[in-house]
Symmetry: C2
Protein backbone atom coordinates (compact mmCIF):
# COMPACT_ATOMS: atom_id res chain seq x y z
CA UNK A 1 0.00 0.00 0.00
CA UNK A 2 1.45 3.37 -1.01
CA UNK A 3 2.17 5.86 1.76
CA UNK A 4 -0.14 8.54 0.29
CA UNK A 5 -3.07 6.11 0.18
CA UNK A 6 -2.35 4.86 3.71
CA UNK A 7 -2.33 8.46 4.98
CA UNK A 8 -5.66 9.25 3.32
CA UNK A 9 -7.31 6.11 4.73
CA UNK A 10 -5.86 6.74 8.21
CA UNK A 11 -7.43 10.21 8.10
CA UNK A 12 -10.88 8.74 7.42
CA UNK A 13 -10.48 6.12 10.17
CA UNK A 14 -9.34 8.80 12.65
CA UNK A 15 -12.54 10.72 11.90
CA UNK A 16 -14.63 7.83 13.26
CA UNK A 17 -12.21 6.50 15.92
CA UNK A 18 -13.99 8.42 18.66
CA UNK A 19 -16.83 7.14 20.86
CA UNK A 20 -19.01 10.24 20.49
CA UNK A 21 -18.66 10.22 16.71
CA UNK A 22 -19.55 6.52 16.57
CA UNK A 23 -22.65 7.24 18.65
CA UNK A 24 -23.61 10.12 16.35
CA UNK A 25 -23.05 7.98 13.25
CA UNK A 26 -25.29 5.23 14.61
CA UNK A 27 -28.00 7.67 15.68
CA UNK A 28 -28.06 9.17 12.19
CA UNK A 29 -28.03 5.74 10.50
CA UNK A 30 -30.90 4.48 12.63
CA UNK A 31 -33.02 7.68 12.47
CA UNK A 32 -36.26 7.74 10.46
CA UNK A 33 -35.31 8.24 6.79
CA UNK A 34 -31.67 7.97 7.84
CA UNK A 35 -31.28 11.66 8.58
CA UNK A 36 -31.12 13.86 11.65
CA UNK A 37 -30.51 17.50 12.50
CA UNK A 38 -28.19 18.86 15.18
CA UNK A 39 -31.03 19.51 17.66
CA UNK A 40 -32.15 15.85 17.57
CA UNK A 41 -28.62 14.60 18.19
CA UNK A 42 -27.84 17.12 20.93
CA UNK A 43 -30.90 16.01 22.84
CA UNK A 44 -30.27 12.29 22.39
CA UNK A 45 -26.68 12.37 23.62
CA UNK A 46 -27.02 15.16 26.19
CA UNK A 47 -24.21 17.14 24.56
CA UNK A 48 -23.86 20.85 23.80
CA UNK A 49 -24.76 22.02 20.31
CA UNK A 50 -21.24 23.32 19.43
CA UNK A 51 -19.76 19.94 20.40
CA UNK A 52 -22.16 18.03 18.17
CA UNK A 53 -21.68 20.52 15.31
CA UNK A 54 -17.91 20.16 15.52
CA UNK A 55 -18.07 16.35 15.33
CA UNK A 56 -20.52 16.47 12.42
CA UNK A 57 -18.29 18.94 10.57
CA UNK A 58 -15.25 16.67 10.97
CA UNK A 59 -17.14 13.60 9.72
CA UNK A 60 -18.57 15.56 6.79
CA UNK A 61 -15.07 16.75 5.82
CA UNK A 62 -13.89 13.12 5.93
CA UNK A 63 -16.63 12.11 3.47
CA UNK A 64 -18.58 10.03 6.02
CA UNK A 65 -21.64 12.29 6.24
CA UNK A 66 -23.66 14.31 3.74
CA UNK A 67 -25.36 17.57 4.82
CA UNK A 68 -28.35 19.30 3.27
CA UNK A 69 -29.90 22.60 4.33
CA UNK A 70 -33.70 22.71 4.17
CA UNK A 71 -35.09 26.03 5.39
CA UNK A 72 -33.49 26.91 8.73
CA UNK A 73 -32.37 23.34 9.51
CA UNK A 74 -29.40 21.32 8.32
CA UNK A 75 -29.99 17.58 7.93
CA UNK A 76 -27.21 15.04 8.14
CA UNK A 77 -27.19 11.56 6.60
CA UNK A 78 -24.52 8.91 6.24
CA UNK A 79 -22.69 9.13 2.91
CA UNK A 80 -22.94 5.54 1.61
CA UNK A 81 -19.88 5.98 -0.63
CA UNK A 82 -17.78 7.20 2.29
CA UNK A 83 -18.77 4.27 4.52
CA UNK A 84 -18.26 1.79 1.68
CA UNK A 85 -14.77 3.19 1.15
CA UNK A 86 -13.95 2.48 4.81
CA UNK A 87 -15.30 -1.09 4.61
CA UNK A 88 -13.34 -1.64 1.38
CA UNK A 89 -10.11 -0.64 3.15
CA UNK A 90 -10.65 -3.31 5.75
CA UNK A 91 -11.26 -6.12 3.30
CA UNK A 92 -8.40 -8.62 3.02
CA UNK A 93 -6.35 -8.11 -0.16
CA UNK A 94 -5.43 -11.04 -2.40
CA UNK A 95 -2.45 -12.97 -1.07
CA UNK A 96 0.66 -13.32 -3.16
CA UNK A 97 0.80 -17.06 -2.42
CA UNK A 98 -1.37 -19.56 -0.54
Amino acid sequence: MERARAERIAGVLKAIADPTRLQLLHLIQSAPDGEACVGDLTERLGLRQPTVSHHLKTMTAAGLLARERRGTWVWYSVDPDGMEAVREILRAPARTAS
Copy 2:
Protein backbone atom coordinates in the same frame (compact mmCIF):
# COMPACT_ATOMS: atom_id res chain seq x y z
CA MET B 1 -25.15 2.56 20.87
CA GLU B 2 -24.13 2.38 24.50
CA ARG B 3 -21.17 4.51 25.60
CA ALA B 4 -19.11 1.53 26.80
CA ARG B 5 -19.47 -0.23 23.44
CA ALA B 6 -18.66 2.99 21.53
CA GLU B 7 -15.49 3.40 23.61
CA ARG B 8 -14.37 -0.17 22.95
CA ILE B 9 -14.95 0.14 19.20
CA ALA B 10 -13.23 3.55 19.06
CA GLY B 11 -10.19 1.95 20.70
CA VAL B 12 -9.98 -0.70 17.97
CA LEU B 13 -10.41 1.90 15.21
CA LYS B 14 -7.70 4.09 16.78
CA ALA B 15 -5.33 1.11 16.65
CA ILE B 16 -5.59 1.06 12.83
CA ALA B 17 -6.10 4.79 12.18
CA ASP B 18 -2.41 5.28 11.44
CA PRO B 19 -0.74 5.09 8.03
CA THR B 20 2.19 2.92 9.17
CA ARG B 21 -0.15 0.44 10.89
CA LEU B 22 -2.33 0.23 7.78
CA GLN B 23 0.77 -0.49 5.70
CA LEU B 24 1.87 -3.19 8.18
CA LEU B 25 -1.61 -4.73 8.19
CA HIS B 26 -1.67 -4.92 4.40
CA LEU B 27 1.86 -6.34 4.20
CA ILE B 28 0.93 -9.08 6.66
CA GLN B 29 -2.38 -9.83 4.91
CA SER B 30 -0.70 -10.08 1.51
CA ALA B 31 2.36 -12.09 2.67
CA PRO B 32 2.76 -15.75 1.69
CA ASP B 33 0.58 -17.79 4.07
CA GLY B 34 -0.68 -14.48 5.50
CA GLU B 35 2.08 -14.21 8.08
CA ALA B 36 5.24 -12.18 8.51
CA CYS B 37 7.92 -11.62 11.11
CA VAL B 38 9.31 -8.29 12.31
CA GLY B 39 12.46 -8.54 10.18
CA ASP B 40 10.42 -8.89 6.95
CA LEU B 41 8.30 -5.87 7.80
CA THR B 42 11.22 -3.70 8.94
CA GLU B 43 12.96 -4.28 5.63
CA ARG B 44 9.86 -3.66 3.49
CA LEU B 45 8.95 -0.34 5.07
CA GLY B 46 12.46 0.92 5.84
CA LEU B 47 11.59 1.40 9.52
CA ARG B 48 13.53 0.62 12.68
CA GLN B 49 12.79 -2.66 14.44
CA PRO B 50 11.55 -1.08 17.72
CA THR B 51 9.10 1.09 15.75
CA VAL B 52 7.65 -1.92 13.92
CA SER B 53 7.52 -3.97 17.15
CA HIS B 54 5.64 -1.19 18.93
CA HIS B 55 3.00 -0.94 16.19
CA LEU B 56 2.57 -4.73 16.07
CA LYS B 57 2.18 -4.86 19.85
CA THR B 58 -0.55 -2.18 19.78
CA MET B 59 -2.48 -3.97 17.02
CA THR B 60 -2.13 -7.32 18.80
CA ALA B 61 -3.49 -5.78 22.02
CA ALA B 62 -6.46 -4.41 20.03
CA GLY B 63 -7.26 -7.93 18.75
CA LEU B 64 -6.34 -7.15 15.14
CA LEU B 65 -3.27 -9.38 14.95
CA ALA B 66 -2.36 -12.81 16.26
CA ARG B 67 1.25 -13.65 17.20
CA GLU B 68 2.95 -17.02 17.38
CA ARG B 69 6.51 -17.76 18.46
CA ARG B 70 8.26 -20.49 16.44
CA GLY B 71 11.85 -20.99 17.54
CA THR B 72 13.60 -17.62 17.71
CA TRP B 73 11.08 -15.83 15.46
CA VAL B 74 7.67 -14.40 16.19
CA TRP B 75 5.17 -14.58 13.33
CA TYR B 76 2.26 -12.19 12.99
CA SER B 77 -0.99 -12.82 11.14
CA VAL B 78 -4.26 -10.91 10.89
CA ASP B 79 -6.83 -12.08 13.42
CA PRO B 80 -9.91 -12.70 11.24
CA ASP B 81 -12.29 -12.29 14.20
CA GLY B 82 -10.76 -8.92 15.08
CA MET B 83 -11.02 -7.60 11.53
CA GLU B 84 -14.56 -8.95 11.14
CA ALA B 85 -15.53 -7.13 14.34
CA VAL B 86 -14.31 -3.86 12.82
CA ARG B 87 -16.22 -4.46 9.58
CA GLU B 88 -19.35 -5.35 11.57
CA ILE B 89 -19.17 -2.03 13.42
CA LEU B 90 -19.27 -0.16 10.14
CA ARG B 91 -22.30 -1.95 8.76
CA ALA B 92 -25.48 0.13 8.71
CA PRO B 93 -27.88 -0.84 11.51
CA ALA B 94 -31.57 -1.44 10.78
CA ARG B 95 -33.52 1.80 10.58
CA THR B 96 -36.38 2.49 12.95
CA ALA B 97 -38.60 3.60 10.05
CA SER B 98 -38.28 3.79 6.27
